[in-house]
């Protein structure tokens, strides 16, 4: 069959090739020390250096926790949004969207003002006598997770909401009509139908989270260093571009592997097509 509109794909294909695939190719070459004397020394260094592995582990741990919380919250918000009246829905949508439009830097600094030792939250709790000493809410891993969850919840809400909204309501009615309780209906009918969207949202949040840089730098107090910040330091401060490149390749491969696994579990069409 002839495809008359295939020409329209060319600009996009050109952009992706020129601005994405070629630089990525260069990055991969750089991570192997180029063509003249290819070596695996940067990868060996990742395997040998305990501190780099700690940073990888920190990144993985924070992103996993963030993803679980963000998807859970996102599911609740999406559920509410899908089943409430149009006016409340608009209001809730605004509540999700307004912070979504704020810059990541502004949001991190806002959390700092709220959560630091003499911030609004701690001052209020101290004044009411609920706590005797300020709670360590920020400038640590806990603060990083708060900031990241806040940033990433909208990314979880929208794919899940889209699925919930498009769901055929008669499925639930059918379940109720044969005697299933509301909880039973939710677990056996509603949840399985929305599950691919949940995986899709989780994947989206996880992949975004892996690249987080500003939020951990500010809310982590300097002691929570995640992978992308480490890459940035290697490029700009310590000039080890080979190491930065190989870490980026590791990140890329991990992301692709994740995508592959989730698509095997859920099915790539359902993941990308329905969500």
């Amino acid at each position: 069959m002839r495809q008359p509109y295939i020409g329209f794909l060319l600009p996009a294909a050109f952009l992706v090739c020129g601005l994405f695939l070629v630089p990525i190719g260069q990055l991969i070459i750089l991570s192997f020390d180029g063509f003249t004397e290819p070596s695996l020394r940067w990868y060996a260094q990742i395997l040998e250096t305990g501190s780099i592995q700690r940073i990888l582990w920190t990144t993985f741990r924070i992103v996993t926790i963030t993803t679980l919380i963000a998807v859970l919250l996102g599911y609740a918000v999406a559920f509410a949004m899908a089943h409430m009246g149009p006016r409340q829905r608009l209001l809730l949508l605004l509540c999700v969207l307004v912070p979504f439009w704020l810059s990541v830097l502004v949001r991190a600094l806002a959390w700092l003002i709220l959560l630091r030792n003499n911030g609004i939250v701690n001052e209020t709790l101290l004044a009411t006598g609920l706590i005797g000493a300020p709670l360590p809410l920020v400038r640590n891993e806990f603060g990083v997770i708060i900031g990241m969850v806040h940033y990433l919840v909208p990314y979880a809400v929208f794919p899940i909401f889209a699925t919930m909204q498009n769901m055929d309501g008669r499925l639930m009615m059918a379940a109720r009509s044969v005697g299933a309780s509301p909880l039973r209906t939710f677990i056996d009918v509603y949840l399985p139908v929305t599950l691919p969207a949940v995986f899709g949202a989780g994947l989206l949040v996880f992949v975004f989270g892996l690249g987080f840089f500003v939020t951990p730098a500010i809310l982590g107090g300097g002691r929570v260093v995640m992978l992308s910040e480490y890459v940035s330091i290697s490029v700009l401060q310590t000039l080890r571009w080979g190491l930065a490149a190989s870490l980026s390749v590791v990140l890329l491969v991990a992301t692709l592997a994740l995508l592959w696994i989730v698509s095997k579990v859920v099915g790539v069409r359902r993941l990308l097509g329905n969500a």
Binding site: S51, G222, L236
Partner: protein, 372 residues
């Protein structure tokens, strides 16, 4: 040779304009960038833009008040003398960026502000032009700070800043800095090792003149002993904000920020020169810079004039590198200059030699050490 696109054509026209002298190299690069053509293409097109001399000097520094400060203290007087405009670009000329620009032959900066040890470190990699000491007067630079590939342009210190109410009688020492039982509250250190490492070693009992060669593991262990009581600052503004917000009670910060803090808090936050770390900054000239070499050498010579060095101190708080300038300071500036008599005597001097050889590895080890 037939050109294949409008951008390439535009670039070719621009290249011809450069050759004919109607367009300087910098505007040429701008046009190429605007047209989305990599500057390297300019060379492929058969033009050699580097041979065109720019008619201004672009000085790259790290932005903020230093843009206006360096322009006032150094740029304007030089322009008045030579007729060559000096534009200050706050584009943060980190070593990585300089390296990338030189290697891709798309240098847009003529003079870059950076730490003293970068002169040798980048110079030995062949990334910098040499200083011509027949134009720049070596005797106007503190001994040891006139390098082959750059000169010390100003000085700064890492100092111990603190809340005055905690230490009303005498300033704290680094032993107090690490004594969180006696003086509760958070402390701040620079995230990127420098100054912080020395503070840790001093706090661990190392003498001021025995800091180098530095025992980094010992310093990291000391830093970790602070547990949750340390916040690492990233930018100078952040180090200042932590004091203003009451997040920290003591901090190892830059003297320029400390003096602003003292002024803005009416002395509630102050600092001591005791056990500070006295450091030279430098100007380097990346290879392939657009401005003429002679103009740059003359510019470097001009910034060493005592009145211009003192002017910078009065605007930014950065000390002179010309000893004659420090010697002739008016009383109100004497307390601010890290290199002034008594201020310098109680400080350690950063070993440029140690940093040249160890900085990259040290920063990395430090970051790895304090993270997680």
């Amino acid at each position: 040779m037939r050109k294949h696109s409008f951008q390439a054509d535009l670039a070719e026209i621009a290249a011809q304009e450069v050759k004919a002298g109607r367009l300087d190299r910098r505007d040429f690069l701008k046009i190429l960038a605007a047209a989305g053509v990599a500057p390297a293409l300019g060379a492929v097109l058969g033009s050699d833009p580097a041979s065109a001399q720019a008619n201004e000097i672009v000085l790259a520094n790290f932005g903020g008040d230093a843009i206006n400060g360096m322009s006032e203290a150094w740029g304007k007087p030089f322009t008045a003398d030579s007729g060559i405009p000096v534009r200050v670009d706050g584009g943060s000329p980190l070593a990585g960026k300089i390296k990338a620009m030189v290697e891709s032959k798309s240098v847009i900066w003529d003079v870059c502000d950076g730490d003293g040890f970068l002169c040798n470190q980048l110079g030995n990699q062949g990334l910098l032009d040499e200083v011509d000491y027949s134009i720049v007067d070596k005797s106007k630079i503190r001994e040891g700070w006139a390098w082959k590939h750059g000169i010390a342009n100003y000085t700064y210190s890492f100092v111990l800043a603190y809340k005055k109410e905690l230490f009303p009688d005498k300033p704290p020492t680094y032993a107090d800095f690490f004594d969180t039982k006696k003086y509760p509250g958070k402390r701040s250190l620079w995230k990127y090792q420098m100054g912080a490492m020395e503070a840790c070693l001093l706090g661990d009992g190392v003498a001021r003149d025995q800091l180098y060669p530095a025992d980094l593991d010992r310093a990291i262990a000391k830093a970790k002993s602070l547990g949750d009581d340390v916040i690492y600052w990233e930018s100078g503004a952040e180090s200042q904000q932590m004091f203003l917000d009451g997040e920290v009670v003591m901090g190892n910060i830059w003297n320029t920020r400390a003096s602003i803090l003292e002024r803005d808090t009416q002395g509630k936050v102050t600092w001591t020169w005791n056990d500070g770390l006295y450091c030279p900054s430098s100007f380097v000239m990346p290879k392939g810079h657009p401005a003429s070499n002679e103009a740059l050498q003359k510019f470097l010579a001009s910034i060493l004039e005592p009145d211009r060095q003192i002017k910078l101190l009065s605007i930014l708080g950065n000390g002179p590198t010309n000893p004659a300038a420090s010697a002739s300071l008016p009383p109100e500036l004497q307390r601010l200059d890290p290199g002034y008599g008594d201020n310098a005597k109680v400080q350690a001097i950063r070993s440029e030699d140690w940093y040249e050889k160890n900085y990259d590895a040290a920063v990395e080890k430090w970051i790895d050490g304090i993270a997680g």
